[in-house]
């Protein structure tokens, strides 16, 4: 199991994502995972062996390294990427559940042929109803996890600059010793890059939330507008029908009294105004 298989698992969810969701997934894989694997891991590769303290005391190096780097940047980013990508699997589970239910229904109605089942397997679901809520929850989780990791990063490494020198006085160091960090500038560059892309991902997620809410509102309004139009039309239609009936009754009544019947002008006008 490595990043490649992880990509295969996560990108399966892409079919049911919005356009912004697909952009987010590409940003995650190209600008974060790929950069982590091909570049950042080699920068941090010698972080422990290259961490040197100005003392011969055995153990001082280890202890000071542990004090200043409780968890390596690389591992923190790897955990962040894994945890941030997995809420997308909620959507995949919901879609799988819907497909399962549709298959059951089809089988019960006697239309469970291989062609119909194949159609269900390849069906692309609209992000509406319960799936909309699942999708929203997954995006909210993503945002919360990203921000949480950014905050943890800030707590452990306040400031994004990697210092060249740290001073350490933990046992067994004999006194306050100078310890030198390897490749501090390169580490600063990659830290700033990864944090910037993380911020960009948060913005993309917020944009996706806004887009989904906007689409849902538009659908609601269009739905309620159509409902009111239908109500208006059916109202007018019933008035028109009533007028026609009244007219027929009047004609019948008049026929019995007079030879020629006259159409009343107001009714004609109303009829014209029905549409």
């Amino acid at each position: 199991m490595n990043w490649g298989s992880f990509y295969a698992v996560i990108s399966g969810v892409n079919r049911h994502s919005t356009g912004i969701g697909r952009v987010w997934l590409s940003v995650i894989f190209i600008f974060r995972i790929l950069v982590l694997v091909v570049a950042a891991e080699s920068v941090w590769g010698d972080e422990k062996s290259g961490f040197v303290c100005n003392t011969q005391q055995p153990g001082c190096n280890s202890v000071c390294y542990d004090q200043f780097f409780p968890i390596s940047h690389i591992r923190l980013w790897a955990l962040q990427l894994i945890l941030v990508s997995t809420p997308a699997l909620l959507v995949a589970m919901h879609v799988a559940h819907r497909r399962h239910v549709d298959k059951k229904v089809l089988k019960k109605t006697g239309r469970g042929g291989p062609k119909e089942l194949e159609l269900i397997k390849n069906q692309k679901f609209q992000i509406t109803g319960a799936l909309w809520w699942t999708y929203m929850i997954s995006i909210v989780f993503r945002i919360v996890l990203e921000v949480a990791f950014l905050y943890i990063f800030y707590l452990i490494y306040p400031g994004f600059k990697m210092v060249r020198l740290v001073k350490c006085a933990s046992y067994p160091c004999p006194n306050t010793v100078d310890c030198f960090v390897s490749r501090p500038t390169e580490k600063t560059i990659f830290t700033v890059f990864m944090l910037a892309v993380s911020g960009l991902c948060v913005l993309l997620n917020l944009a996706e939330v806004a887009y989904l809410i906007f689409r849902a509102c538009k659908r609601c309004l269009r739905g309620s507008e159509e409902e009111s139009k239908v109500a208006w039309i059916s109202g007018r239609f019933s008035t028109y029908k009533q007028n026609e009936i009244n007219q027929l009754i009047a004609e019948q009544a008049l026929k019995s009294k007079f030879a020629v019947s006259k159409k009343s002008p107001t009714e004609k006008g109303e009829r014209c105004s029905a549409f």
Binding site: N2, S5, V63, F69, I82, L89
Partner: protein, 257 residues
Amino acid sequence: MSWPALYSQLVGGNRHSTSLGKIWLSVLFIFRVMVLVVAAESVWGDEQSDFTCNTLQPGCENVCYDQFFPVSHIRLWCLQLVFVSTPTLLVAMHVAYRNHSDKKRLLQGSGRAGFLTSKGQEEDLETLRRRRLPIAGALWWTYACSLVCRLLFEGGFMYALYVVYDGFQMPRLVQCDQWPCPNLVDCFISRPTEKTIFTVFMATASSICMVLNMAELAYLVAKAVTSTLRSHQRKKCKKSGRERTHNKTTHVSLVST
């Protein structure tokens, strides 16, 4: 043989799992195997080379490392993941056995009848291969046994880790006086805080997997109990229905006589 090969084997067996079983497999592979491979292995990579003791005595570091780390966390987790994944193969074997016996029966039946065309036979064999067996009868017992085995292995390995390393925290310093160390020497462990973080993470993921397994077992038991009760009720209704019709016919015959 590697993790992706194990994954493909388990996914095949997972077809006949419940939804909780499928969630369990995802949690296992994403939060445990993947974290082990991409993160934890590099944290423990220099565990022996960077284990330093405050002495120049040759052999002292080796001996002290061996005393405090009889088996590395990484190897313990690898073993745990392999043992915990294999009960699923019990289910896959049972399903394969059922399919094999059904296939034999089908071929024998068609041979005797002699009217099935080869195309029809092929379609039937294909449906047999693709079908998803319900978790009932003997398969229910196999599945329940596999869940119990998983729980035992998870619990066993977590307990073993806790006992061998005296808790989940990795100390910075250990004191060792094994021969050939000249006296009580201080030995320093590399990256203890990072190791503690990952140990706690893996223990949490293991606990989540145990909870999922227990929930799945409870769900299976509940499903079995409700289906038994329903079948008992149906039998009772049928019996009372038959009795009523029998009484009616006897009444009618009595009346007619």
